[in-house]
Symmetry: C2
Subunit: 281 residues, 2 copies
């Protein structure tokens, strides 16, 4: 079985693929859109994408792709993001002149770089795992990468400093995408609750519209896991709403709530029903 | 009058300061927290911070600072983010070997860099304006920066390519911070509506809690501009909510709604009441 993710082997998304699918073949794609098309074109069975991060908020671009493509969410996972300084064996903090990584990882480890490697040059890379790959391919103890444990293992690099990110409360939520809406293929055994993800837009300028849209869930005692309004650029006063509600669309209460939501909104798209995910620390 | 912002002279935040305050002295600070303390310690009159971006979502770190500091929001502004390729006079696309900018700006212009300057090295900088300053201080036509129009003007650089960001629907919302809750100092004349920003947390595991909290506004026909749930890391099932509601806290309906909200939540913090902001294209 093949599972597409964005980035190189050793990226955090690949770690999510392993945690979710065990021994599936993780298939790296250059862009998020490539992940969607790889699944749609049946080149892979599933896709895995990041959807929100505890420090940086929602990945709007992936919500846009979920809206415009036809795939369903069938699972989720929360992954703690830990960054390590990785090098060839034989390198030391004193020998490092350049640190390669994805710009966001360089930003997250800014404090470490300033305090511990003030003279090293920060060099942006395509992604964290790509940076590790490059360091592994070179033969210089001048170069280090900021990358995951998985990337260090994959490219046989030494970890010179662990957990160098400034804020340790850094978690990314990943979603599993499938051509079929059926989540049973990756469901865990036991009495694990489901959630359903929905994107919708209200009719124009209806007062209290958001409240009414939440009423369709509250009236049925359904719990919300997430609600976020996103202003539509170029259309003042109009919003998209991202909402995660407790329950599966196989449940009658959810079905009725979604029918009710369609009645009062301009459009609704159900993105999928899936088990509440585990957290990998 | 002095207004603090994060970044260098020529940063987008400084552009927001100019648009909001005209001829005030814009006072650059290294971090967002420094902006808050500069206002609190009365070294400056006001502060300006980014709070959300149309592509990258909410700046959670600034919501955290708003929660833990004592300042009030007294105004807002939406600014279109346009990136230009800026150089010393005499440079050309052919002469450029290195492009300096903030990692996020490099990311936003990735497509342009790949297509037009495939052999140039992308070098991360402290911020876009800092990159422009560095190019201006050097005397090499090898180097370019990705920066704002304001930075090009400030550092007397030529604009070699305009609007090179991949996604043009890129707007940042900025907030004005003050020691006093009174917004009249920067209010525009005319019948411009107000909004009030609030952060709150629900009591633990109350079913339909979010719905009830929105009811306090809906029952009074108050409109919502923004609602966002943010999971509290390390505290599963607990959330912070960011909410912007139409009206000023001088209005009786808003006062009653906020009292009502306090009644049913674990804690509420009113961040400020201010006029709905303009958009600078």
């Amino acid at each position: 079985m093949k599972v597409a993710f964005q980035g190189e082997i050793g990226a955090f998304s690949e770690e999510a693929v392993s945690a979710l699918f065990g021994r599936a073949t993780a298939d790296p794609c250059p862009t998020f859109e490539d992940v969607f098309t790889a699944v749609e074109d049946e080149r892979v069975e599933y896709g895995v994408i990041p959807i929100e991060n505890s420090l940086f908020g929602s990945v709007h671009v992936n919500y846009d792709l979920l809206r415009t493509h036809t795939l369903s969410i069938i699972g989720e996972l929360h992954l703690r993001i830990r960054h390590h300084l990785v090098t060839l064996t034989g390198a030391s903090l004193e020998s490092i002149k350049r640190v390669h990584s994805h710009p966001q990882a360089l930003g997250q480890c800014q404090e470490f770089l300033k305090n511990v490697l003030p003279h090293a040059e920060a060099v942006p890379a395509y992604d964290t795992a790509g940076a590790a790959k490059m360091v592994a391919a070179g033969n210089s103890t001048d170069a280090a990468a900021i990358a995951s444990e998985q990337a260090a293992t994959e490219y046989n690099l030494a970890i010179l400093a662990r957990g160098i990110e400034s804020n340790h409360q850094n978690y990314t939520r990943f979603l599993v995408l499938s051509r079929e809406a059926e989540s049973a293929v990756i469901d865990r055994p036991g009495d694990i609750p489901y959630k359903t993800s929905v994107v919708y837009a209200m009719r124009e300028n209806v007062p209290g519209a958001l409240f009414k849209s939440l009423a369709v869930f509250a009236l049925r005692d359904l719990d919300l896991y997430k609600i976020e309004s996103r202003p539509l650029v170029g259309s003042p006063g109009n919003y998209l709403f991202y909402l995660d509600v407790g329950g599966s669309r196989r449940d009658e209460a959810i079905q009725r709530a979604l029918e009710h939501l369609e009645e009062i909104t301009a459009h609704v798209k159900v993105l999928g029903s899936y088990q509440v995910g585990t957290t990998i620390e």
